[in-house]
Symmetry: C2
Subunit: 130 residues, 2 copies
DNA sequence: CATGCCGTTTACGTTAACGTCAAGTAAGGT
DNA sequence: ACCTTACTTGACGTTAACGTAAACGGCATG
C-alpha cells in the first residue's frame, strides 16, 4: 500500500521548487500534509497532488484553477444536479485545453518555419565560403 | 496593401481587453502604434502583434516571453553566430511547447475519464428511477 | 558543548499585469 | 456656447505567487 512518506525538502528537491513554495501551497489549502509533532509528513497522495498542481502551472493555470481541476477528480458529487454541473465544468475546461492545444500547434508551426529559414540561411553562408 | 488602421478601443473590443491593457503593452514596448497628433493609430501589423501576444498569454506565457517569441519571427539576425543562437532558443521554446502539449493531453485524458464516470453515474440514477 | 543542518512560524518585500481614479484635450453634434 | 464621447497622461491601488530574512527548536556529530 504505497505508504511511503516524504519530508518537505525531499519533495521540494524532487519537483524543483522551494520549501517556501510547499508551505505556501499548504497555506492556500492546496495540500494538507499530516504532522508528526511540528514537522510536515507528506504521503504519496500529497505527492500526487503536488505533481498535478505543477502540471497545471506548466500550462499556465493559476493555483485556484489547479485546485478546481484537481477537485474534479475526487468524488463527493452524489446527486444528479451536482453531476450535471460537474460535467459542465469538466466540458468547459476541456474546451479551454483544446484551445490551448491549438494555440500551441500554431506557435510550433511558426517556430518550425523560423528554424527552417535559419538553417537554410546558414547553408547559404557555408556555400559562400567555398 | 492592407493599410487598414484601428483605434485603440476598436482593437480592445475586438480582442476583449481594456484600453488600459493596450497602453500597458505599449508602455512595456510590446507594441508601438504610430500617432496622429495625440491619438494612437494601430496598423494591421500592430494588430497581428497583439494577436500573437494574446495567443502567448493563453498558453501561460509572460509578456516577456511573448516578446521573446515574437522577436524570433522577424529578421535582423545576419551572421552565423546569431543564427546559431536563434536556432537554439527556437528549439528550446519548441521543447517547452511539446512538454505543454503533453501536459494538456494528460489532463484531457483525465477529464475525459471523469466525464465518463459522471455520465455512467447519471445513467445509474436514471435506471433506479424506473 | 558548540556547530551545523533541518525543520518551524511570522512577517515584510517583490514582481507582473493590469485596475481604477483623476484631470485634461480635441472633435463633433445641437 | 454647451454637451457628449473618445482619447490622452499620470499616479496610486491590487492580486497572485512566491522570495527573503529573522528568530526559534531539535538532534546528531566532531
Amino acid at each position: 500500500m504505497s505508504d511511503q512518506t516524504y519530508t518537505i525538502s525531499e519533495l521540494a528537491k524532487e519537483f524543483g521548487v522551494t520549501t517556501r513554495t510547499m508551505r505556501f501551497y499548504e497555506e492556500k489549502g492546496l495540500i494538507s500534509p499530516r504532522r508528526e509533532g511540528q514537522k510536515r509528513v507528506y504521503s504519496s497522495a500529497d505527492r500526487v497532488r503536488i505533481k498535478l498542481i505543477l502540471r497545471g502551472k506548466r500550462i499556465g493555470m493559476s493555483l485556484a484553477e489547479c485546485v478546481e481541476v484537481i477537485d474534479m477528480y475526487d468524488p463527493g458529487h452524489n446527486n444528479a444536479d451536482q453531476l450535471h454541473s460537474l460535467i459542465n465544468t469538466v466540458q468547459n475546461r476541456r474546451q479551454l485545453l483544446e484551445q490551448q492545444k491549438q494555440d500551441i500547434d500554431e506557435m510550433l508551426a511558426g517556430l518550425a518555419e523560423v528554424q527552417n529559414l535559419c538553417e537554410s540561411a546558414l547553408g547559404d553562408i557555408e556555400e559562400s565560403h567555398s
